[in-house]
């Protein structure tokens, strides 16, 4: 039984619920047993309902569980093993084994086991497999498996620089092991590059050096950029679990229906503990020779394409006009290094000016080793008249070891218009000489540019200072704006004017008091109070009378009292100068009481 499960995204996908049961043989002698394997796939595995058959013994042996997470979906693979046998010869029908998986009731197909008379048959051998033997501990360093690399080129064991050669990469894993890939296959050195390794490997069983392996095979391409002999070292990180054959064997049974060497080996297999290890599977350092492309016979337009290519189709418009670009398409098919396969060129070349082409590859195999590349490019006809046009390109054929140039059958086109005159076609005697190759390097500068520091302003302290200065200017501007607004505030201006007018009125009142001019004192003092009240009440000072004050201010207020005294004096001709100090005190109280609450 190959117990290898790949949980990497490359090799496996989340499976639907399924149940499957197999017997490792169709018949067994009485008193011996066959191995029944029950594989269950699903996310939730419920009760396993084992059938009961008269005279047939079904004994559970081993159970292994694999949990996989794919795109957030959990999938469980459960493998149960049972030893099945009987002491009574006969043909036994094993009914379907019923299992609840993911809420579904699934059942296996019914199986048939023939139990033969023990005296009439030889001891059985495992179907199609070599007899199980005691394995000696593996000391070769390949106990957990290894890789091999094989060039899949016919009649050659070398490749050329730039050639993508097909390779088969095989991972050899011990039978009954479990492996989980932790990386993709990668070259260990810099000599080779892997291309388009297949995502779905093939899996099979093979015997090597007398040992059975499960072999997983990938296909891809390998290429090298330098000539020489290099080891094709590849590696693959994996977690591999193998049975520890060096562990002590379990005690043999004595008596009972399964007291048989076959059952002993079955028991040993199931009772042997597994060893799990993170390993790097490596290929043996088999050297691959990389040969350089020959310089002799290399065509002018060779772009580095190595392989075997041919023209498939090509299209060119039948009517042209000189100087007007039109599109030409061509398809090249074959196998090889399509990356370096350049666009074919128009012939005759002097009659055309071609622009850079766009190429799309359509692969024909998983490794993109063979396919077809479609080119589309614009060209301008330089010469008028009827012309035969063809496309040509060259490549290196690694099988033949030579360069090959292909040209399509010509197509006739008509080009209207006059020939385009190129600047270089103004031929003079001197110009007929072969011109030296144009120097791509632009010449020296002769003018001395100014001396500048390489350190940008942003990395210099001056930058921070400039930003600081700008911030300071912004703050100063804001302060100045605030001051300016405050200075032109009408309320503030009105209050200042009021203070000035009040001060002047009070000074006048004081002067009048000094002169014992009672009428003058009251007039000036009343004006001071009116000015202050006028600002507070927002109305003309002259319009404020005792009647209005009485209506808005309590009668006991010093303001009301002072106005009443002032009216008495003014209209009652009461001019007792000796009362002036009291009226001055009353005036002070009245002014002091003019707080915002008097509004």
């Amino acid at each position: 039984m190959a117990g290898i499960f790949f949980t990497s995204g490359l090799a496996n996908h989340a499976a639907a619920a399924a149940v499957d049961a197999t017997l490792d043989r169709a018949s067994v002698p009485a008193g011996n047993g066959a191995l029944l394997t029950l594989n269950i796939t699903g996310s939730k595995v419920g009760q396993i309902d084992l059938p009961e058959v008269e005279n047939l013994i079904i004994q559970g042996r081993d159970q292994s569980r694999q949990i996989q997470m794919n795109n957030g979906q959990t999938s469980v693979s459960l493998t149960c093993s049972y030893a099945v046998g009987s002491n009574t010869p006969g043909v036994y029908q094993i009914p379907p084994i019923r299992v609840s998986v993911d809420g579904q009731n699934l059942a296996t197909k019914p199986l048939t086991l023939k139990v033969l008379d023990a005296a009439a048959v030889q001891p059985p051998a495992a179907a199609g497999a070599p007899p199980p033997a005691e394995e000696a501990p593996d000391t070769s360093g390949k106990r957990f498996g290894f890789l091999t690399v094989e060039l899949l080129i016919k009649d050659r064991n070398y490749l050329y620089v730039g050639e993508i050669a097909p390779v088969g990469i095989r991972a050899w894993l011990p039978e009954e092991s479990r492996a989980q890939l932790r990386s993709v296959i990668q070259p260990e050195g810099k000599a080779f590059t892997l291309h388009n390794v297949s995502e779905r490997p093939q899996q099979g069983t093979e015997i090597k050096d007398g040992k059975r392996y499960t072999v997983v095979t990938w296909y891809g391409g390998i290429s090298a950029t330098k000539a020489g002999k290099y080891p094709a070292s590849l590696s693959l990180d994996a977690t591999v679990a193998v049975r520890d054959t060096s562990a002590p064997k379990a005690r043999r049974r004595n008596g009972g229906p399964f007291d048989d060497p076959f059952f002993d080996s079955v028991m040993d297999r199931f009772n042997t503990p597994m060893i799990q290890k993170d390993v790097t599977l490596k290929s043996e350092d088999e050297e691959i020779e990389v040969r350089p492309l020959p310089t002799a016979g290399r065509p002018d337009g060779f772009t580095g394409a190595v392989g075997d290519f041919k023209f498939e189709t090509w299209e060119i418009p039948p009517s042209w006009k000189t100087g007007e670009p039109q599109q030409i398409s061509a398809s090249l098919g074959g196998s090889g290094n399509f990356t370096l396969l350049g666009c074919p060129t128009l012939t005759p070349p002097d009659a055309w000016k071609s622009y850079p082409a766009k190429g799309d590859l359509t692969p024909r195999d998983a490794a993109a080793f063979s396919g077809s590349k479609n080119f589309k490019f614009n060209a301008v006809a330089r010469k008028g008249g009827k012309q035969d046009v063809s496309l040509s390109f060259s490549f290196f054929d690694p099988a033949a070891g030579t360069y090959k140039s292909l040209t399509t059958p010509p197509k006739s086109i008509t080009v209207s218009g006059t020939d385009l005159i190129e600047p270089q076609s103004n031929i003079t005697t001197a110009a007929k000489k072969p011109a030296p190759p144009k120097d791509p390097l632009v010449g020296q500068h002769t003018a001395l540019s100014p001396t500048v520091s390489l350190v940008p302003l942003v990395a210099r302290p001056a930058f921070t200072r400039m930003l600081g200065l700008a911030a300071l200017l912004c703050v100063l501007g804001s302060v100045l704006a605030w001051l300016r607004r405050r200075r032109s505030d009408p309320k503030r201006l009105a209050r200042a004017a009021m203070e000035t007018a009040t001060g002047e009125a009070l000074q006048a009142a004081a002067r009048c008091a000094e002169k014992s001019d009672v009428a003058g004192f009251f007039e000036a003092a009343r004006r001071a109070i009116q000015v202050r009240l006028g600002v507070l009440w927002n109305q003309p000072a002259a319009a404020i009378t005792l009647a209005e004050i009485s209506a808005r201010i309590p009668a006991a207020s010093p303001i009301t009292s002072f106005f009443r005294e002032a009216d008495l004096t003014t209209y009652g001709r009461h001019t007792a100068a000796d009362m002036l100090p009291q009226w001055q005190t009353l005036l002070t109280e009245a002014l002091a009481s003019l707080t915002p609450s008097t509004r």
Binding site: L441, V442, Q444, H445, L454, V458, G477
Partner: protein, 253 residues
């Protein structure tokens, strides 16, 4: 005051004239060497000119050409990159830098879109810095004027507002560009094709890889005669000898 400033300017110009004439003569001499094919001699002259007179875009460009003629692509790309800091839009410089990179197979690893990259590199970091500083100072001056005099009413008010908005946009775009190109301060160029990135800062430490001459790397801490480098676009990072890599912007340049 103004006559004094005029006098000072004249003095500076006249005092600088002999130096400028000497520089021009040295440049001419180096160019003649280059023209006769003495590229190594020309490179020495250009180097001397840079040491004595400071960094000049034309001299750095010519120095890069000399090294490119000598097939020393690492120093050539270093000189071109330095010149690009000063004249980022010089077509001759960009053409020769592309040639050198192509010859050395040392291509720029840019993680930004080509259009954004072209926009950011249209100005040098120095020019972006001046744009930011100028815009900030302009806004500051505007704030002072507005604060002191008040924004003019009617005709001038929209113009002033438009100028302030433009300055604000320049400030934001410049600051964004400087932020996006902030890691360029620590760029260096690998000088030699055999320059090795080592696991630890020792001559005999394990070699992790060879980035190749002319490759742009990010420089980190120093340890003795080694610098920590990171090769962009790869996982290659480690220590490289000081003689094998040079910072594009060096202290005091």
């Amino acid at each position: 005051m103004i006559p004094f400033l005029r006098l000072a300017c004249c003095f500076l110009l006249l005092g600088n004239a002999p130096l400028r004439a000497a520089g021009s003569a040295a440049l001419e001499q180096a160019n003649q060497r280059f023209a006769t094919g003495d590229y190594a001699g020309a490179a020495t002259d250009y180097d001397k000119l840079l040491t004595t007179e400071g960094q000049r875009a034309s001299v750095l460009y010519n120095l890069g050409n000399s090294y490119q003629r000598l097939d020393q692509y690492g120093p050539a790309i270093l000189a071109y990159e330095r010149a690009r800091l000063l004249t980022p839009r010089d077509p001759d410089l960009l053409a020769n830098l592309t040639l050198a990179r192509k010859a050395a197979a040392a291509f720029e690893d840019t993680r930004r879109s080509p259009r954004l990259d072209a926009l950011l590199n249209h100005f040098s970091r120095n020019e972006w810095s001046w744009l930011v500083a100028g815009a900030a100072l302009f806004l500051g001056a505007l704030a002072i004027l507005g604060g002191a005099l008040g924004l003019p009413r009617r005709g001038w008010r929209p113009a002033t507002m438009a100028a302030a908005i433009l300055a604000g946009l320049a400030l934001v775009s410049g600051a964004s560009s400087l932020y996006l190109r902030r890691d360029e301060t620590n760029r260096g160029i690998v000088l030699s094709a055999v320059a090795a990135v080592r696991l630890s800062p020792f001559d005999k430490a394990e070699v992790l890889g060879n980035p190749g001459a002319g490759r742009c790397v990010y420089l980190g801490a120093s340890n003795g005669t080694f610098r920590y480098v990171e090769v962009p676009g790869t996982n290659l990072r480690g220590w490289m000898a000081d003689t094998e890599v040079s910072a594009i912007i060096t202290a005091g340049s």
